[in-house]
């Protein structure tokens, strides 16, 4: 396949960027989207130009590092896949593909297609954990957990922290990401003691990072590569409301 790419180039966080046109040829449909970028970068290096910077690591759809906004959609045209798992058979010969970084106030562009998502780590540090020091645990099977609860917690825990939900949202809200972590713990018995404190701390941190408000557009769920459900947001809202209306003992 031969393709035209329009790729966002930006020298660093201080400079302004712009879309630059590139042509790639002989692209195999079996290549992944990032392998197509490898080919392009090899071309650029051979021509003495600077290769395009983009984030990636596992290339298996699990580390959450890859993050390209492709033809107006985070992670591109296919549902439920990350950029690294998108293959060129999803495109046609002659296509023009526009590739931009995640756009959100809380995710400043670092260079080209790479952005700073450290806000997510700070949200987790504010409460995305169960306070149990190493060595404090009881035997694992002393605490049976209904399979349905365990499975639901697992589904919420499948979030890879990629930030596509934020990039997809016109308000750049991080509700899907935050609620997935809140839900995982509030569904499990181990998470109960800190349940209401956790949700307040995480939401406060989320707000202070500059993420926008949730207006229920559902764009996040539609673009999430791991199928994280909007139900998590509803669950978090309930916990948040409970925490605000009642004291810890009453809740």
């Amino acid at each position: 396949m031969n393709l035209t790419l329009k790729v966002w180039r930006q020298k660093n966080s201080k400079s302004t960027g712009n879309l630059v046109d590139y042509k790639v040829s002989d692209i195999s449909p079996d290549m992944s989207f990032l392998e197509m970028f490898d080919v392009l970068n090899e071309q650029l290096i051979n021509k003495g130009e600077e290769p395009i910077v983009f984030d990636h690591d596992c290339r298996e759809g699990i580390c959450g590092m890859c993050s390209m906004y492709i033809n107006g959609r985070p992670h591109g045209p296919k549902d439920l896949v990350t950029t690294c798992q998108l293959h060129m058979r999803s495109f046609k010969d002659g296509d023009t593909i526009v590739v931009e970084p995640w756009r959100a106030k809380a995710f400043p562009v670092i260079k080209d297609l790479a952005v700073d998502r450290s806000a997510f780590d700070r949200v987790i540090a504010a409460g995305g954990f169960i306070s149990v020091n190493t060595g404090n645990a009881q035997d694992a099977n002393n605490l049976p957990i209904a399979k349905s609860k365990a499975d639901a917690a697992f589904e919420a825990a499948a979030c890879i922290g990629c930030g596509a939900c934020v990039a997809a949202c016109k308000n750049a809200s991080a509700m899907l990401f935050v609620s997935a972590k809140v839900s995982q713990f509030s569904l499990l018995p181990q998470g109960q003691p800190e349940r209401y404190k956790r949700v307040q701390n995480m939401v406060a941190q989320m707000d202070s990072e500059g993420f926008g408000n949730c207006t229920n557009t559902g764009a996040c769920e539609a673009e999430c590569p791991k199928g994280i459900s909007l139900e998590n947001i509803a669950r978090m809202n309930r916990d948040y409301l409970t925490a605000k209306l009642f004291s810890e003992e009453e809740a």
Binding site: N12, S28, D30, S32, E35, D38, E42, I45, N46, E50, P51, H56, D57, C58, R59, E60, G61, I62, C63, G64, M65, Q85, H87, I110, R117, S118, F120, D121, I124, A125, G127, G128, F129, I130, S131, V132, N133, T134, G135, N136, A137, Q138, A140, N141, L143, P144, I145, A146, K147, A150, A153, F154, A157, A158, I160, G161, Q184, L188, Q190, G191
Partner: protein, 659 residues
């Protein structure tokens, strides 16, 4: 003089660790607050160690090169984690896990370490569940288990095909909790480029801030590396793109011995290579071998579709050769058997370098069970397959999706095509019982050390080892060293040793940029990978290894005169990062070949064609090679061999038999 002594505690095997723990020197809380520990790496090993050390009261600095500690390569582990819980009541025990691991490792691991690993394995599961890690459960609400290769019990805990992700997120949460409390200072997008050694002790590191390019000096009373494995020396592997040997290699050059570098694990079930563009290979978890049967056609070059080949024209070669373990033989055995069939001309797919992994039989079996549960006692095949697919989907859905994504084929309908690929490195930095390297104050944990897996790692044991090291072993053993360091004041980073190490790093970076050659870093990496795969891969021989050593030397020379690294060192420059990593791989590859050449026997993942039985099984030479090869760096291409003899007092050494 280096500190080359395994320091295994005296006493009976089952008592060593208990005794050690109750007698190891402690550091009191007030002193801990003024002791600083550097942890490089935030994978299972690094994150669990950093979090635990901080919980204990030490001041911790933790480093990773990704943009978040949650993205360490451990996140990609799929199948599961072993623990001797005996929840299935199938006769498992600490001794059995210990025994399976030593045997699986082809009798090339240290007894005392492996026994300790088996002892703490159960605590890991308890800890993770307490953290809220959603491991798979049965309907009764208790934890579920599956089987992995090389064992006859079900001791593998899992979270669908995302076990590593869930365990790492648990450790990451614990780490971030300490970050939030100000007890760990986290440095993301930082790469350690050298260790600083003062008066023979590790006292800090030089790290590059990957965003600004700035070189930073960090002091620590002790330095811990949990920087992962070096499988990417082969270019194509199942490791993440960034996985590398740089941190380990830098400490090796500063005096840490490298143990068994040639022990590489080639995993039998990966998606085959499809073309030159390929940047990495994808694993299909070993857990699939629970429910999949591996076969090739009995006829060479059979053009028929797999579905059209009748049962009696299929060769289920693992079940044929190893009836006792069948499809669940250890990885090294399964990989070689696949290579044997393909080399003999029975391979499938366009490249002929693949075998089938077929789920039909078990899909149907599961479907029948489901139908029976629903009251349908005579289901037809169609119904069985439909219901069975649901069961398979619940167990392995994400793996099947990934397979379909990459190959464009539907594995629910046709068998998967698989072939072995580089996956894990048993070799690594040599450490003693305390997990300390030959440099005092310098520790190495997780896949980066030469590990408890001997010459072959059993599935689901790396996650166990990484978390054992980080949660339950290192935090104790490091106290033995730090208790003697309580009066050491933080050394100012303008000390000449820091200045010199930083200057050295800087001059190497400048050298890369000034070559201004004609070929990209990847060009050299691919070439190196090709040499390693052909001559130091699944099967090795003296001639090939001797050639490989010369070829690597020549390639290294070409690299240092013709590589082109664009950009500058004072900016975010991934090509420069890659150049540094490939430069180190170009040295490591040579040492791997030297080690493989010197080990004139076959054991585990190290298969020397000259040393095999008549049936083509690996032939060990215990009389001459029952030792850990620990290599000391003496200058470019010069390595001195030190031997740590392995003594088996509790296990009878035998030829591995999975028949």
């Amino acid at each position: 003089m280096s500190n080359f002594n395994s320091n295994i505690p005296e006493g009976e095997l089952t008592q060593k660790w208990t005794k050690y723990r109750s007698s190891v020197a402690l550091v009191n809380p007030a002193n801990k607050r003024s002791i600083e520990v550097i942890v490089v790496g935030s994978g299972l090993a690094g994150a669990s160690a950093a979090a635990t050390l901080a919980e204990m009261g030490y001041k911790v600095k933790c480093f990773c090169f990704q943009d978040s500690p949650r993205r360490a390569h451990s996140i990609a582990a799929q199948g599961g984690i072993n623990a001797a819980k005996n929840y299935q009541n199938d006769g498992d025990s600490v001794y059995r896990l210990f025994y399976d691991t030593i045997k699986g490792g082809d009798y090339r691991a240290r007894e005392a370490n492996v026994h300790r690993l088996a002892e703490v394995s159960a605590n890991i599961i308890d800890q993770c569940v307490a953290q809220g890690v959603p491991l798979a459960r049965e309907y009764g609400g208790l934890l579920d288990n599956r089987s992995f290769g090389g064992t006859q019990v079900q001791r593998t805990f899992y979270a669908a095909g995302q076990t590593g992700q869930q365990l790492l997120l648990g450790a990451y949460s614990a780490l971030e909790r300490q970050v939030g409390m100000g007890k760990v200072e986290m440095f993301t997008r930082h790469e350690m480029l050298d260790v600083v050694v003062i008066d023979g002790k590790a006292r800090g590191i030089i790290a590059r801030n990957l965003l600004t390019g700035e070189l930073e000096r960090h002091f620590g009373h002790a330095v811990v590396l949990g920087t992962g494995g070096y499988g990417n020396v082969f270019f194509l592997s199942t490791n993440a793109m960034g996985s590398n040997v740089t941190a380990a290699w830098k400490i090796h050059k500063k005096g840490a011995f490298f143990g068994n570098p040639c022990y590489t694990q080639i995993h039998p079930t990966c998606i085959p290579v499809s073309g030159d563009h390929q940047s990495k290979l994808t694993l299909m978890s070993e857990s699939l071998r629970n429910d999949g049967r591996i076969w090739v056609p009995k006829k060479k070059d059979d053009p028929r579709k797999p579905q059209d080949i009748p049962e009696d024209e299929r060769d289920y070669y693992l079940e044929r050769r190893y009836p006792a373990f069948g499809n669940l033989v250890p990885r090294d055995v399964a990989s070689r058997a696949a290579k044997e069939r393909c080399d003999a001309g029975y391979g499938v797919g366009a490249s002929k370098l693949a075998v089938y992994l077929d789920f039909t039989a078990n899909t149907e079996r599961y479907g029948r069970i489901e139908a029976n549960k629903q009251g349908n006692h005579h289901p037809d095949k169609e119904t069985c397959m439909r219901l069975g697919r649901e069961v398979i989907k619940e167990k392995y859905g994400n793996l099947f999706d990934m397979y379909a994504q990459i190959t464009g084929e539907n594995p629910y309908e046709t068998p998967m095509r698989i072939y072995p690929a580089v996956h894990y490195t048993m070799g690594g930095i040599w450490v003693d019982y305390d997990l300390m390297t030959t440099v005092p104050g310098l520790y190495c944990i997780g896949e980066a050390n030469f590990s408890d897996h001997g010459a072959n790692r059993l599935g689901a044991s790396a996650l166990m080892q990484g978390l054992a090291d980080g949660y339950f072993v290192l935090p104790y053993t490091i106290g033995s060293y730090l208790s003697k360091e309580i009066s050491t004041k933080a050394i100012p980073t303008d000390h000449p040793a820091f200045v010199e190490a930083e200057n050295h790093v800087k001059s190497t970076l400048d050298r890369f940029l000034n070559i201004k050659g004609t070929k990209s870093v990847d060009h050299f990496h691919k070439k190196l990978g090709h040499i390693m795969w052909e001559k130091c891969g699944m099967a090795r021989n003296a001639k090939g290894l001797t050639e490989a050593i010369e070829e690597i030397k020549a390639l290294r020379k070409e690299f240092w005169s013709d590589v082109r690294v664009p950009g500058s060192s004072d900016e975010f420059n991934p090509e420069l990062e890659k150049a540094g990593r490939v430069a180190d791989f170009l040295e490591l590859g040579e040492l791997m070949c030297i080690d493989a050449l010197h080990r004139e026997e076959s054991c585990g993942g190290h298969f020397r064609e000259e040393f095999q039985t008549e049936e083509g099984e690996a032939k060990r030479d215990d009389a001459n090679f029952s030792y850990v090869a620990a290599w000391e760096y003496k200058g470019e291409s010069v390595y001195e061999l030190h031997k740590e003899e392995l003594n088996y007092e509790n296990i009878k050494v035998a030829q591995r038999n999975y028949k």
